[in-house]
Amino acid sequence: MSDATQSSQGAGRVVLPPVDVYEDKAGITVVVDMPGVGRDGLAISVDGETLSIEGRVDLPGAPGMDLVHAEVRALHYRRSFALSRELAADRIDALLKDGVLRLSIPKREEARPHRVRVRTA
């Protein structure tokens, strides 16, 4: 799996969320920080071999509030990845909790490592 993220320059304030990517025997796990995003603001799609994650919510604020210091200017996250063929894109599991998205992308059965049993004759 390779990072196919495009530069977000000129596309408004789009945040490239930090990710962790791990692989184990069963598949690949992608963990994405998207603070502020709930289920309604999240869209995950697979188009061909591209997995796209997008989350968009309004900046938190109170009525009549002046933002006097802002390290975060927008909560519009976008990131995409190229999926390699051994991954089962149709069986991706997504879990969103406390602003962290965890995607489990299983490997296709035939792509999982397996032992070859040696028979003795």
Partner: protein
């Protein structure tokens, strides 16, 4: 008369606008949205600060922490947000391809203006954002004076 010596902790809003200018310089105009990660681990969590006539509102972008384990303290006008975010390494992972997310202990300090009431501070955690609301003392809130 000699000009007034600038107080050490300066005016709260001056400090804030200076920090904001510095941030902007660091990022440059229209910088790609690397802002969440700018400055590395010490910048976790990123913080926004707003004021209303009645309160000071602090938002800490703190995804994936256990709200019960958060340490939130107010001392001498400083709000301290501290805690720990464990790494999310799944067991038996054979390869780590990217590890951009912050993990470990964090601590951030936000100076609150003098006019807030430390007793009235409330905090909520939702969708990975910690919101701390510090009400201003009643005496300093704008009040309408009725003309008789």
């Amino acid at each position: 008369m000699i000009g007034r010596f600038p107080p050490f902790y300066g005016d709260f809003y001056d400090q804030l606008s200076r920090m904001q200018r510095e941030m902007e310089q660091m990022l440059g105009a229209g910088a790609p949205a690397a802002s969440l990660r700018a400055g590395g681990a010490s910048r976790f969590p990123a913080v926004n600060l707003g004021v209303t006539p009645e309160s000071v509102e602090v938002y800490a972008f703190l995804p994936g922490v256990d709200a019960q384990g958060l340490e939130l303290a107010v001392h001498q006008g400083l709000l301290v947000i501290a805690g720990e975010r464990p790494p999310t390494h799944p067991e038996g992972a054979t390869d780590v391809y990217q590890q951009e997310r912050f993990s470990g202990a964090f601590r951030r300090t936000v100076s609150l203006p003098e006019d807030v009431d430390p007793e009235g501070i409330e905090a909520t955690y939702r969708d990975g954002i910690l919101h701390v609301r510090a009400p201003k003392r009643a005496a300093v809130q704008p009040r309408r004076v009725q003309v008789k």
